[in-house]
Amino acid sequence: MTDKTRSVSAINEGTVIDHIPADSLFDVLSILKLDELENQITFGTNLKSERYGKKAIIKLEGKFFEDDEINRIALVAPEAKLNIIRDYEVAEKKVVGLPDEIHGIAKCMNPKCVTNHQNISTRFRVKDKKLVTLKCHYCEKITDKKHLEIL
């Protein structure tokens, strides 16, 4: 364990999600539905980061994610890194990547889109993974990063 991560307690088995932009922490918690988990969760935010200024970190005891599940956070934390922990050691490192399609996480920015008026889960095709631009499957309008709103 390094000095940098000591401010949030260590875990035995589980997942550490690091390099989350500090202002995206609560979006990440919501996207991964961590509020519904029974597992031990510790998180820290506004931690100093040489690369990002301020970052957040989440440590989940006994929780491992499928790639599809974790990649959804790439919308709000594109640089996030995952450390898979086994017996207090980093067993594997992963980076997140935006999937080709996003279902039910983001809101369509078009106020006239049917998804903003009916009980319909949103669905987007990711047009640009770097710039994070999403094309609505229904109204065909683009939602860009600037207008991104997490449901």
Binding site: C108, N110, Q118, C136, H137, Y138, C139
Partner: protein, 311 residues
């Protein structure tokens, strides 16, 4: 005549957006529409029931669809605006579509919300034809425009097309521009500054290497045009009423302006017209908007019969 196998791209598939189809698809549909123009009374839909669901009124589009269905011998069920349906009682779009699917072989749908037609096609077990979803798509209008252009010019290739009026919000001009960009068109965009063609569409043309020019004045684009596509500049699009007053008469086409234009020029308009084409143009042989509306019936016959696998 094309055989049915060649039209498998349409069979049982919904028509939601003009971009769902390729250039070859457009040409095949035009060929089928030509067949209906030669012989419009064909009882292909005998025994079929088509649902016509107009969640907002659109008399012209609805009558055109109903005329096409009636000429094919089909029967129609449906409603002409949401106030006369269970939508008023709070029924969800999903429930309406699933219920009506039980009563019909195909659904024609007009709805004020964008993306509603795509959603309906995702949940409906029968094909859906989008008759306009808010400001998003109106693919049968675009296909009838293509048919009108092909019919009057003999080709869709290498034409000079002037799009006039509200180029910012007008869905017909966006769809037509995207469809015609498959045929090496040159575009002239004529609009007030506040209603210019959006960058998204101009970038699309740049990527495809298609030439386009922007103008403030209608006369500038007329001498070279093969097609002038007029649309209405609507007062409600302007936040500043003074701005509207300044431009409201600039984009009115008058007969005298057509003197120095090409012989093959035809004037198109999706209708309804308000005052953007002066009535003195109506008797000019270059005026084509009423024939264009008739072409809509043939094209809709082609679309419905192809989707049902009857052509």
């Amino acid at each position: 005549m094309l055989n049915a196998n060649k039209l498998s791209f349409m069979k049982n598939k919904s028509l939601i957006s003009i971009t769902d189809y390729s250039r070859d698809n457009y040409l095949k549909l035009i060929e089928i529409a030509e067949g209906f123009e030669k012989n419009p009374r064909q009882q292909l839909l005998e025994g079929y029931v088509i649902a016509s669901l107009f969640f907002e009124p659109s008399t012209r589009t609805r009558l055109s669809f109903e005329s096409a269905i009636n000429r094919l011998g089909g029967r129609i069920v449906g409603f002409t605006d949401a106030s006369s349906s269970s939508v008023k009682k709070g029924e969800s779009l999903k429930d309406t579509i699933l219920t009506v699917s039980n009563y019909s072989d195909l659904i024609v749908m007009r709805h004020p919300l964008e993306g509603s037609a795509r959603f309906a096609s995702d949940v409906a077990p029968v094909p859906v034809v989008n008759a306009g979803d808010g400001a998003n798509q109106h693919p049968t209008q675009c296909l009838l425009d293509l048919y009108s252009i092909k019919k009057t010019q003999g080709t869709l290739e290498n034409l000079n097309i002037a799009l006039v009026g509200d180029l910012k919000y007008g869905r017909t001009v966006h769809s037509l521009m995207m469809a015609m960009s498959n045929f090496n068109a040159t575009f002239n965009f004529i609009s007030p500054d506040s209603l210019r063609m959006p960058d998204t569409y101009k970038n699309y043309l740049d990527e495809k290497g298609i030439k386009y020019y922007e103008h403030d004045v209608l006369e500038d684009a007329l001498p070279h045009a093969d097609i002038v596509y007029m649309t209405r500049v609507q007062k409600e699009r302007f936040s500043d009423p003074i701005e509207y007053e300044k431009v409201k008469n600039v984009y009115i086409l008058r007969n005298a302006m057509l003197e120095e234009t090409k012989d093959n020029l035809r004037i198109l308009h999706p209708l309804p017209r308000v005052n953007e084409i002066n009535e003195d143009v109506d008797t000019n042989p270059k005026a084509y908007y009423f024939e264009q509306a008739l072409n809509g019936v043939y094209m809709r016959q082609a679309i419905i019969s192809s989707i049902l696998g009857l052509r």
